[in-house]
C-alpha cells in the first residue's frame, strides 16, 4: 500500500509540474504586454519599461517560470499587477467562499442522489424508478446557471426567503454565510445529483446481479437485506469515482454560478483578472484549480486501493 501510494504521489508531482508548464506557456508567453495594457495607449516607452522592470517582466520566460513555481512551493504566488497585493492573499480571501460552496454543493448532491439512486434501484421498473430516472434525465439537461436564475426568481424575488446575490461574510455568523450560499449550492448540486443518482442506481443493479448476492439470498436474506448488507458497499466504487470527479467539476462550475449570484469567490476574481490582464492572478487561480482536480483524483485512487486491494496491482 505504501509503495502504491508513493508511486501515485510521484505521478501527482509530475502531473502538477507538467500542468504548471502548460499554464505558464499558455498565459505568459503570449502577445500583449501587461505593462502596456495597464498604462494605456498614451504611455511613454520609458514608463512602460520601468513598470516592466518593477513587475519582473524583463527577465527571461524560463527564469520567470522557475521563480513562479518555486514561489508557489513556498506559498508565494507573486504580486498582482493591478492591485499590487500578494496574489496568495487575494486567493485566500476568495477561496473562503468558493471552497465552502463546492463542499456545500457536493454534500447536497450526495444527500439527494443516494436515496434517489437506492430507491430507483430497489424499485426497478416501477413508476417510482421511471419517475426518478425521468427527473434525473431532466436534471442533467438543465444548465446550472439557468436553474440558478429560476431559483432567484422563485426564492429571492417572489418568496423573499433568500437574498438574490452577494455574500455578507463569515464574520456575520455561520448561519448567515450558509444561507447566502444555499441557492448557489442548490443550483450547482442539481446536475451533479442527477448524474450521481443514475450512477448509484446502475452500480447497485449491477451488484445485485453478482453471484455473492445470489449466495446471500440463498442463505435466506431478503432482497432488501442483501442490498443493504452486501450490495451497497460493493456498489460504492463507481460512486466514489464520480464523487471525486464531481468535486473538481463543482470547483470549476462555481466560477459560473458565482457570477450569477455576484459572489466574491475565485470565479469572480478570475474574470476580473482577465479583463484587467492581471495574468499572474489568472495563472495562479487556474493552477490552484488544476491542483484541486489532480489532488482529488489522487485521493480517490488511494481510497480505492484502501477499499479494494486488487486495484493496487493495476497501477
Amino acid at each position: 500500500m505504501l509503495r502504491y501510494s508513493l508511486k501515485r504521489l510521484m505521478s501527482l508531482g509530475l502531473s502538477l509540474l507538467a500542468a504548471s508548464a502548460v499554464i505558464f506557456l499558455a498565459i505568459e508567453v503570449v502577445p500583449g504586454d501587461p505593462a502596456s495594457y495597464m498604462l494605456g495607449i498614451n504611455a511613454q516607452p520609458d514608463t512602460i519599461s520601468a513598470l516592466r522592470e518593477e513587475l519582473g517582466l524583463n527577465v527571461s520566460a524560463l527564469s520567470r517560470y522557475v521563480t513562479w513555481v518555486t514561489g508557489m512551493l513556498t506559498g508565494d504566488f507573486g504580486t498582482s499587477y493591478t492591485y499590487r497585493t500578494p496574489v496568495v492573499d487575494m486567493i485566500g480571501d476568495r477561496i473562503m467562499i468558493s471552497l465552502p460552496l463546492a463542499i456545500y454543493a457536493l454534500t447536497l448532491s450526495t444527500l439527494i442522489a443516494f436515496p434517489a439512486g437506492i430507491l430507483a434501484a430497489s424499485k426497478r421498473g416501477s413508476v417510482t424508478d421511471v419517475s426518478i430516472m425521468g427527473a434525473t434525465q431532466l436534471g442533467v439537461a438543465i444548465p446550472n446557471f439557468w436553474f440558478a436564475m429560476l431559483l432567484v426568481v422563485v426564492f429571492s424575488i417572489n418568496l423573499r426567503w433568500f437574498s438574490a446575490g452577494g455574500f455578507p461574510g463569515w464574520d456575520e455568523g455561520l448561519f448567515v454565510g450558509l444561507k447566502a450560499l444555499t441557492l448557489p449550492a442548490i443550483a450547482l448540486a442539481l446536475p451533479q445529483a442527477s448524474i450521481l443518482a443514475r450512477v448509484m442506481r446502475s452500480a447497485l443493479i449491477d451488484t445485485m446481479n453478482e453471484d455473492f448476492i445470489r449466495t446471500a439470498r440463498a442463505k435466506g436474506l431478503t432482497r432488501r437485506q442483501a442490498m443493504w448488507r452486501h450490495a451497497l458497499r460493493n456498489a460504492m466504487i463507481p460512486v466514489l469515482t464520480i464523487i471525486g470527479l464531481q468535486f473538481s467539476f463543482l470547483m470549476a462550475g462555481a466560477i459560473i454560478i458565482e457570477n450569477v449570484f455576484f459572489l466574491p469567490g475565485l470565479g469572480r476574481l478570475v474574470f476580473q483578472s482577465i479583463s484587467q490582464r492581471d495574468l499572474i492572478v489568472v495563472e495562479s487561480v487556474v493552477m490552484l484549480l488544476v491542483f484541486a482536480v489532480v489532488l482529488v483524483t489522487f485521493l480517490v485512487d488511494i481510497a480505492y486501493a484502501a477499499v479494494d486491494p486488487r486495484l493496487r496491482g493495476r497501477s
Binding site: 442533467v140 439537461a141 436564475m149 426568481v153 495574468l279
Partner: protein, 279 residues
C-alpha cells in the same frame, strides 16, 4: 428486425430524435427565413410578452425572441458539432495509435498527455484561451474541442485494445497487414457504434458548455445571437420580464434532453447486450 424498425419502436430514441431534429431544423430554416430580422432593433415594441405576433415576446431592444432562438440554435449547434469533430478527428487516431502500440513509449506519452488535459475542465481551458486571445465563438470551439480529445482517445484506446486480442485481427496480421491498416480497416469499423453514442453525449455536453461560456461572456460575441448570452442579458430584467430567460433556457434544456435521450436510445439500438442488461 431492421435498424429502422427497431429505431421507430424505441421510445427514448424517437422522442430524442424529434427534439433534436426540431432544433437542427430551426437552425437550418433560420438561414432562409426567420419571423423577424434579429439584427433590427425596434425599441417601440421592447419587452413585449408572448403574443400571436411575437410568439416568445420581444427583448429589451424589441428583437423577436423566437427568431433569436432560431438563429442562436445555429451558434450552439455549430460550436458543439465542430468541437465534437475536433475530439473525433484528433482523439480517435491517437487512441488507435496508442492501442496498436500498447505499452510502448508512444502509448505512454499519448495517455499521460490525455491525463494532463483531463486535469483542465473545459471552463479552465476556455479561461486560459480567453485570457490570451480574447473571447469569441472560435475560442469556445477550441476550448470544448481540446476537452473532447482525451475523451475520444481514451474510449477508442480501451475499445481497440480488446479488439486487438480477437481472432479476426490475428488473421489480418497473419495476412501481412500492418498496424495502421488493421486499425483503419478492422478496428475502426468495429468501434464506430461506440463512437456514435459517445459523439451524441459529447454533442449535448458541448451545447451546455457553449451556453455556459457565452453566459459568462467567453463565447460568441455580439451581434452573433447565442442562447447563453440571451440568458446573461435577461438576468437583470428577469423580475419583470421572465420570458426573456424562460424561452432560451427551455431551448437549451430541450435540445440537451433530446440529444441525451437519443444517445440512450442509440446505445440500446446499437448494443443489444446493453439493452438486455438495462431492462
Amino acid at each position: 428486425m431492421s435498424f429502422l424498425t427497431a429505431a421507430l419502436r424505441n421510445r427514448s430514441f424517437m422522442i430524442g430524435a424529434i427534439l433534436a431534429a426540431l432544433f437542427v431544423g430551426a437552425a437550418l430554416v433560420s438561414y432562409l427565413w426567420t419571423p423577424f430580422d434579429v439584427t433590427k432593433l425596434d425599441i417601440a415594441h421592447k419587452l413585449q410578452t408572448p403574443s400571436t405576433e411575437h410568439w416568445f415576446g420581444t427583448d429589451h431592444f424589441g428583437r423577436d425572441i423566437f427568431a433569436m432562438i432560431m438563429v442562436g440554435a445555429r451558434t450552439s449547434i455549430a460550436v458543439a458539432v465542430v468541437a465534437v469533430g475536433i475530439g473525433i478527428i484528433l482523439g480517435v487516431p491517437l487512441g488507435l495509435a496508442a492501442a496498436a502500440r500498447k505499452d510502448s513509449l508512444m502509448d505512454e506519452i499519448i495517455m499521460r498527455t490525455n491525463d494532463l488535459v483531463f486535469a483542465f475542465p473545459a471552463l479552465l481551458i476556455a479561461i486560459m484561451i480567453t485570457a490570451v486571445f480574447g473571447p469569441s465563438a472560435i475560442n469556445a470551439i477550441i476550448a470544448i474541442g481540446i476537452f473532447n480529445i482525451p475523451v475520444f482517445a481514451r474510449l477508442t484506446r480501451g475499445a481497440a485494445l480488446s479488439l486487438w486480442t480477437r481472432d479476426f485481427v490475428l488473421s489480418a496480421r497473419v495476412a501481412g497487414k500492418n498496424a495502421t491498416r488493421i486499425s483503419v480497416e478492422h478496428i475502426l469499423p468495429n468501434i464506430l457504434n461506440l463512437l456514435i453514442v459517445q459523439g451524441s453525449v459529447q454533442f449535448s455536453l458541448g451545447i451546455l458548455a457553449e451556453a455556459g461560456l457565452s453566459y459568462v461572456g467567453l463565447g460568441a460575441q455580439p451581434p452573433i445571437p447565442s442562447w447563453g448570452r440571451m440568458l446573461a442579458e435577461s438576468q437583470t430584467m428577469i423580475s419583470f420580464a421572465p420570458h426573456l430567460a424562460i424561452f432560451p433556457g427551455m431551448a437549451i434544456v430541450l435540445t440537451v434532453l433530446g440529444l441525451n435521450l437519443m444517445g440512450d436510445g442509440l446505445r440500446d439500438l446499437l448494443d443489444p447486450r446493453l439493452r438486455r442488461a438495462r431492462t
